[in-house]
């Protein structure tokens, strides 16, 4: 049975906002199901970037001229847009980075170097993307701290009893994703933060896979750090966000040195700029920030509850269809999931499936999804991952399964 949307949601109307979707790939209309890797950009984002370079391009904060004032105003207004979007208390707590990975590296290097010592522990879940594992291993190597994995059960759900047991006063920081990129598991963020805070640990939440799907409120969540990438939120690549609790950011040493992040420089000593500039060495990605703000404005102009409901309906429909494919095994069957269908088909390799789907105009990702530990746990080299966004249709999912049938005939 085909799922349906609630009244009022018009997917064709939203699709018209994303010009890239309207093209042929290998002779077939494109079915883009790689949204967990990156999302497509609405025309409003493309226009904002073109407008910036056409009319406003200039360096920010320093120029003695009108263009620089204009660029600075738009750049700082973008920061305000992001702060409001995640309900941060102030724009000083919104630090521009290149993406979620750089945001995590910043916290690991800066907060970690000032706060970790031998014997300390960093907990990460076994579901993490390499970006939320490796930066912690790097700072652990330097400080003598240890990275400990919180186990995940066969469905891809974090073992909360084990998490509670692992939490003790040695744990200085807990880092986990709000949604798993490889499996789609939605983690119980608020509860995990409450438990971690109870032993005095700080918490970093990787929101890269969640931010596109529903509204995020960092104050209600009560996290210490929250990170995400612009390009997974319908914005440009190269721009990302680190949100941090003000008192933590104030105490942290700078991450990189350079222009913008200083107050005064002399060979006798240098003093650093205030937040957020202390962490923003060098000319920032001005167009990226403006493009990201345009993406947020676009989302704010939509009925986000309707978008979420549509994505949930797509996942339910795809999950139901997957159950009818002989030999197909869904990888990641947690009770709460967001917009990701990972699977393997017995007797085939994910890369074969990916290549043959591409021939039929269907874009998926195959492989370990930069989450090798969880793939090792399942004993598989990787999966085929179809990941959905609100501009996908039920017809896209029908096309995926028709194409998969053809793939099965060719491979098995």
């Amino acid at each position: 049975m085909k799922s349906t949307d609630q009244a009022g949601f018009d997917v064709e109307k939203v699709r018209a906002d994303f010009p890239i979707l309207n093209q042929q790939i290998n002779g077939h209309p494109l079915v883009y199901l790689d949204n967990a890797a990156t999302t497509q950009k609405p025309q409003a984002v493309i226009d904002a970037i073109v407008h910036y370079y056409t009319h406003d391009n200039s360096n920010v904060h320093r120029g003695a001229h009108t263009l620089s004032d204009r660029a600075t105003a738009r750049f700082e207004s973008a920061r305000k847009t992001v702060a409001d979007f995640i309900n941060a208390k102030s724009t000083g707590q919104i630090i521009w980075t290149r993406g979620a990975s750089e945001s995590i590296n910043l916290v690991a290097a800066s907060w970690g170097s000032a706060n970790l010592e031998a014997g300390d522990r960093i907990l990460v879940s076994a579901l993490e993307h390499h970006s939320n594992i490796v930066p912690w291993q790097m700072i652990a190597d330097k400080t003598g701290a240890t990275v400990v994995a919180v186990p995940v059960d066969a469905t891809g759900t974090i073992d909360m009893a084990a998490f509670s047991t692992l939490l003790d006063t040695r744990v200085k920081l807990v880092a986990f994703n709000q949604v798993s990129n490889a499996l789609g598991t939605i983690n119980p963020v608020e509860e995990m933060i409450r438990l971690a805070h109870a032993v005095g640990a700080k918490v970093l939440v990787d929101g890269a896979q969640a931010i596109a799907h529903w509204p995020v409120d960092v104050q209600a969540m009560n996290c210490d750090f929250y990170v995400f990438s612009g390009h997974k939120l319908f914005g440009p690549t190269g721009i990302g966000v680190l949100y941090g609790r003000r008192e933590l950011l104030e105490q942290m040493p700078p991450y990189q040195g350079g222009g913008e992040m200083i107050e005064t420089v002399s060979f006798d000593g240098t003093t650093y700029n205030q937040l957020p500039y202390k962490f923003e060495a060098g000319t920032p990605d001005i167009a990226g920030a403006i493009g990201l703000a345009a993406a947020i404005d676009y989302l704010n102009s939509q009925d986000r509850a309707a978008l979420s409901a549509h994505e949930d309906a797509l996942l339910a429909y795809a999950t139901q269809k997957a159950a009818t494919v002989p030999g197909l095994k869904i990888v990641g069957t947690a009770a709460c999931k967001a917009a990701v269908l990972g699977f393997v088909i017995e007797g085939t390799h994910p890369s074969d499936i990916g290549m043959l789907l591409d021939q039929q105009g269907i874009a998926v990702r195959t492989g370990h999804h930069c989450a090798q530990p969880i793939m090792q746990q399942y004993g598989i080299p990787g999966t085929v991952r179809a990941s959905f966004s609100f501009y996908n249709t039920f017809d896209d999912i029908d096309r995926l399964f028709v194409a998969l049938e053809k793939v099965r005939q060719m491979l098995l």
Binding site: T348, H349, S351, D352, L356, Q359, P381, G382, M410, L411
Partner: protein, 137 residues
């Protein structure tokens, strides 16, 4: 069993692939080529023979006899194995000098599908070519 490089040459591959009209026939041919490769012994599936950086597992072993290089290749993915077979058509049974002078990128360019797949890190093709060229160096 046919020997790649002798009975199935790079020119044969280009000819045969140009003959197919549809993508699925081309891919079926490539998958079938992979199935024609001689099986690699379990003992050769070692870490040393594994070529890293590919999405699927790719193994390569080689031996030199009377100045010619003989390769054994395997992959756990059907299409990649077929692509490896195509590389074998170019390189297997050849002398190091022949391998060094063969224009492999030109060969890939002349096969539409290889042109698209060869830059992809995940296919492992370039890593395989680099390993063979270092053996022939």
């Amino acid at each position: 069993m046919k020997t790649f490089g002798l009975d199935i040459t790079s020119a044969d591959i280009i000819d045969t692939l140009s003959f197919f009209d549809s993508w699925d026939d081309r891919y079926r041919y490539i998958i079938d080529l992979g199935k024609e490769l001689p099986p690699m012994a379990d003992a050769e599936h070692t870490d040393a023979n594994l070529i890293r950086g590919c999405q699927s597992k790719v193994w390569l072993s080689s031996e030199s006899r009377e100045g010619r290089l003989y390769f054994n290749v395997d992959s756990d993915a059907f299409i990649v194995k077929g692509l490896l077979a195509i590389v074998m058509a170019a390189y297997n049974t050849k002398t190091p000098a022949e391998i060094r002078s063969f224009d492999i990128q030109g060969f890939f360019e002349s096969i539409d599908l290889m042109r698209h797949l060869s830059p992809t890190r995940g296919s492992g093709l370039q890593a395989m070519v680099a390993r063979i060229q270092s053996i022939a160096a």
